[in-house]
Symmetry: C2
Subunit: 196 residues, 2 copies
């Protein structure tokens, strides 16, 4: 429970960030549909009015949460600077696998919200994966990935496969080691690009 | 508008099948959330009571529709008898691509309903894809696909890729020809299995 004194000490930006961080924590054990105004009010000790003030209601709050989680995924999968392109992308893919494994419930909820027909949620999901895909073309000369419509199609298919592989692996980690999973995801891209 | 005379001429099974066929037609231009009791009553000229009688309400009707569409997909992608295993599976994949292209709205709606968090919908979707995947193991000796947890993981990932490739191709058919898309989907499976 936050006191009035504690509340007034935060700037609006800090308060907003605090509400989003709380939501992301709720994400780890709840689907996005289970995050209601009541849950947030109870867990954060804030008034309903504050959620409406900052996010224009529950839908706005859920969308802001989705954007926050997607930005976090994008940030955590940034290719590390100062290495060879192939190594940079392998590190990025390893970070993606680790992010999904560490945030499985929230990630599944993000996928479900995006696929479930909500346009705003889908747009956030699509933009994030498109931006992650752009990283491959930025390193394209070293990767021999020509920027053609066919290669872009392959990249989208490969991203869907990588996501499914990680989510399925979370349910059956005995099927292969993390290193084998990473190698499968990393090595499959040039093979697939080679088919078009 | 069906008359009372027309209505009594159908057996219960025929009436049920008729309501499902109507729903599948509605699917081609509407998402599953847009199929309401009101829409069915208006389009089929049947009473609300009939939907409740046969399907125990709207949710039951939507689930029955999903099952009907999934069975149709499974039936239409049956590998044709009397050919070589590799040809049989290539024909099955071609049928899958053509089914998705011909029923794009309904198929996207099926994917969305399955991903969107409804357990019953997800189960129907998962069972269908699992059953389609089993076909590969039935032909396994000829395909050199050992039935191991790692290969099953790869198969699930490849199915997600194939679905995404077809759906993305529907939006950008200039990216490659149908024949190139088919070759990409068909030839990628042995390459991916070869990685584990």
């Amino acid at each position: 429970m936050t006191t009035d004194t504690g509340r007034t000490r935060l700037t609006p930006d800090e308060r907003r960030a605090q509400l989003l961080e709380l939501g992301v924590r709720l994400f780890s054990s709840r689907t996005i549909e289970e995050i209601s105004i009541d849950v947030v009010v109870e867990e954060a000790g804030v008034s309903r009015g504050l959620i409406y003030h900052y996010f224009d209601g529950l839908q706005g709050y859920r969308e802001a949460l989705m954007r926050y989680a997607a930005d976090e995924l994008f940030r955590q999968t940034a290719p590390p600077p100062g290495r060879e392109p192939v190594e940079r992308l392998a590190a990025s893919l390893a970070a993606y696998v680790d992010y999904v494994v560490a945030n499985e419930t929230g990630y599944r909820s993000l996928v479900a919200a995006a696929a479930g027909g909500n346009e705003a949620m889908r747009a956030i999901y699509d933009e994030t994966f498109e931006a992650m895909g752009e990283r491959f073309f930025e390193e394209a000369p070293a990767l021999e990935m020509p920027d053609t419509p066919a290669v872009r199609l392959v990249l989208r298919g490969w991203q869907a496969m990588a996501e499914q592989l990680v989510l399925a692996w979370c349910e059956d980690k005995g099927a292969m080691t993390r290193a084998e999973l990473l190698r499968l995801i990393t090595d499959s891209l040039p093979l697939l690009v080679g088919l078009v």
